[in-house]
């Protein structure tokens, strides 16, 4: 992200890298105004000392966000007139929020530290999981056939595992059920 960015917005998501991303943003942009959109019951004390603008407008954790709350969130984000808007996952829903944020540029900070510029590719974002699922199911079926059609040492009776010493690593093949 450009270091001269002045107004940054970060949307809270339930993920292991929310605080880490926040810290990284503050360290890389010490002078920027960072606005964090968090749930209403967020413990704001945890963010003390980071000079953040906290907007507790997301529904409490456990509540499902409705359309009205979604519109309220988007209005709030747009009202901030952000230079950069950051989300934590590149899901279709967050991509949509990012595209409606009116920010000059939107980014996704991934769990593994990658930073990706978000462009509205809703169709691609929606199709990708479907494609992965089809490929995954085909792969699963191929492996299932292999695993279940391979007879393993069928002449050998099944050993009662509870009687065996688990630390004895002499190979014991177990016939499939």
């Amino acid at each position: 992200m450009n270091e001269t960015v002045q107004k940054i917005g970060l949307l809270y998501s339930y993920g292991p890298h929310f605080m880490k991303t926040l810290r990284a943003l503050r360290d890389s942009h010490p002078d920027a105004q960072i606005t964090v959109f968090v749930p209403a019951n967020f413990p704001e004390a945890l963010l003390d000392g980071m000079a953040l603008h906290i907007r507790p407008i997301l529904p409490d954790s456990g509540q499902r966000p409705g359309i009205r709350q979604g519109l309220r969130l988007i209005r709030a984000i747009r009202g901030e007139a952000l230079d950069s808007f950051v989300v934590l996952f590149a899901s279709p829903r967050l991509q949509l929020v990012a595209s409606l944020s009116k920010a000059v540029q939107s980014y996704c900070y991934h769990v593994d530290g990658r930073v990706e510029i978000l462009r509205l590719r809703l169709l691609r974002a929606l199709l990708r999981p479907i494609k992965n699922r089809i490929i995954g199911n085909l792969r699963y079926f191929r492996i299932w056939v292999y695993v279940h059609c391979t007879r393993v040492n069928a002449k050998r009776p099944q050993e009662k595992l509870s009687d065996a010493d688990p630390n004895d690593d002499r190979t014991t093949d177990i016939r499939r059920d």
Binding site: M19, P43, V111, W144, P166, N167, T172, I174, R176
Partner: protein, 415 residues
């Protein structure tokens, strides 16, 4: 004195900044070897399609590193292995150190068989085919991939099936699919790779005992820790302004194998008896909180290390056979008493009633009793903490670990 060697290290998962304990461990080992005039180089494949593999900021490493990009469109086991082999061959090492890796690791070992090979195992990846935990249905699994390969092969397939169907590849699944670990033939390669290795390095004695067949070449080498330099107390906004005693659980506490539920169970019982304590856990979600517990949120590593010193008791309630237990060392190095489950590496690190307290793994009643006793006995808490610090200074500082274990091992393997 040990002679200078060219040590090639191949790590299939390394990331820097670190994404796990294995990365930190390897970082310190290679740094220590380099400081002892060893010529070390790290080789890491970078799988672009999978999170957390080979994302390395090379300029932050104190030793040279070669990141080998793996194109997702032609990602095949033989190509990955060949790329690694060619890079290592070009560098001409005296010895190859295979560090973190999953199902592809045996294939890499076989490709590098011409060199003296040392293989480091960070968890139970040798003994479990489904993940590195050997932990199933909430308890440690008794099965052993070396002994029950077909049972474990099917278990792995059943466990990984949902991920396979969704097409979501994480590091373990990617290795599993690339190496075709679901095939019966994989086991033969796995055994062959173990046979050709010159040394197998594990974290604790229980793991060594599980590898009875290879007892001659299994070495138990603990991890290490560095002492924090003196510095100001960190600002910890999550600490509540009251005089309650602080119980701390650090690490990946959201992982069920780490036993947070056990600590909460013991805490709930404790609350019926007393309310002079509060449990802090490094849960990633700041919203994780309740009447007697709350999250610290994510913290930078330096802040985390200093946080131990602000706590009264550090609890490690692991339900799985913790291979090492770095959290115990970090807590002991801050002089904070450790109350840990009696399992795996924790059994080796914490000496019961000498440098901390051990309780039966999975037993919330035992944890309740241990915490109750520690909360009541401040003097003993302090003396156990001080003894823990002394033990760390004597046995677990990185310089000691490198000099005592790694240098003799490298020398013996090259001979």
């Amino acid at each position: 004195m040990y002679r200078s060697l060219r040590v090639a290290c191949v790590d299939m998962l390394f990331c820097w900044p670190a994404q796990g304990g294995a990365d930190v461990d390897l970082f310190h080992v290679l740094k220590g070897l380099k400081e002892r005039a060893m010529d070390v180089r790290l080789f890491v494949p970078h799988f672009e399609s999978v999170a957390g593999r080979g994302i390395v900021q090379e300029e932050e490493l104190p030793f040279p590193c070669t990141v080998l990009p793996v194109n997702p469109s032609c990602c095949r086991a033989d190509r990955v292995v060949e790329t690694l082999r060619a890079a290592v061959d070009q560098w001409k090492p005296d010895v190859v150190f295979l560090s973190h890796g999953y199902a592809l690791k045996p294939l890499v070992a076989l490709a590098l068989a011409q060199y003296p090979l040392i293989s480091r195992y960070y968890a139970h990846e040798l003994l479990c085919a489904r993940d590195a935990y050997r932990f199933k249905d909430g308890i440690p699994c008794d099965y052993n991939y070396l002994r029950y390969p077909d049972y474990c092969r099917r278990c792995a397939f059943q466990s990984l099936a949902p991920q396979i169907k969704l097409g979501r590849e994480e590091a373990w699944l990617q290795d599993y699919l690339l190496a075709r670990a679901y095939e019966t033939g994989y086991y033969a390669l796995f055994r062959k790779a173990l046979d050709i290795m010159d040394a197998l390095v594990v974290f604790n004695t229980a793991l060594r005992d599980s590898l009875a067949r290879y007892k001659d070449k299994v070495h138990v080498i603990p991890g290490g820790v560095s002492l924090l330099p003196e510095g100001p107390s960190p600002s910890l906004p999550f600490l509540q302004n009251n005089d309650k005693k602080r119980i701390f659980m650090a690490g990946r506490v959201d992982d069920p194998a780490k036993g947070l539920s056990l600590l909460l169970e013991a805490g709930a019982r404790l609350l019926r008896k007393r309310d002079d304590f509060h449990i802090y856990a490094t849960h990633f979600d700041p919203l994780w909180q309740g009447p007697f517990f709350s999250s610290t949120g994510w913290m930078p590593y330096d802040t985390l290390r200093r946080t131990y010193g602000e706590m009264d008791i550090c609890v490690i309630p692991s339900r799985w056979e913790e291979p090492f237990g770095l959290v115990a060392l970090e807590s002991m190095s801050a002089g904070t008493v450790v109350c840990a489950a009696d399992c795996g590496g924790l059994h080796d690190i914490v000496l019961h009633q000498e440098t901390g307290l051990l309780f039966d793994s999975g037993d919330s009643n035992a944890l309740f009793n241990a915490l109750d006793w520690l909360l009541d006995h401040e003097e003993q808490r302090r003396s156990l903490g001080a003894a823990g610090l002394e033990r760390v200074q004597k046995h677990y500082l990185w310089n000691h670990v490198i000099d005592t274990y790694y240098l003799p091992l490298l020398e013996s393997v090259v001979k």
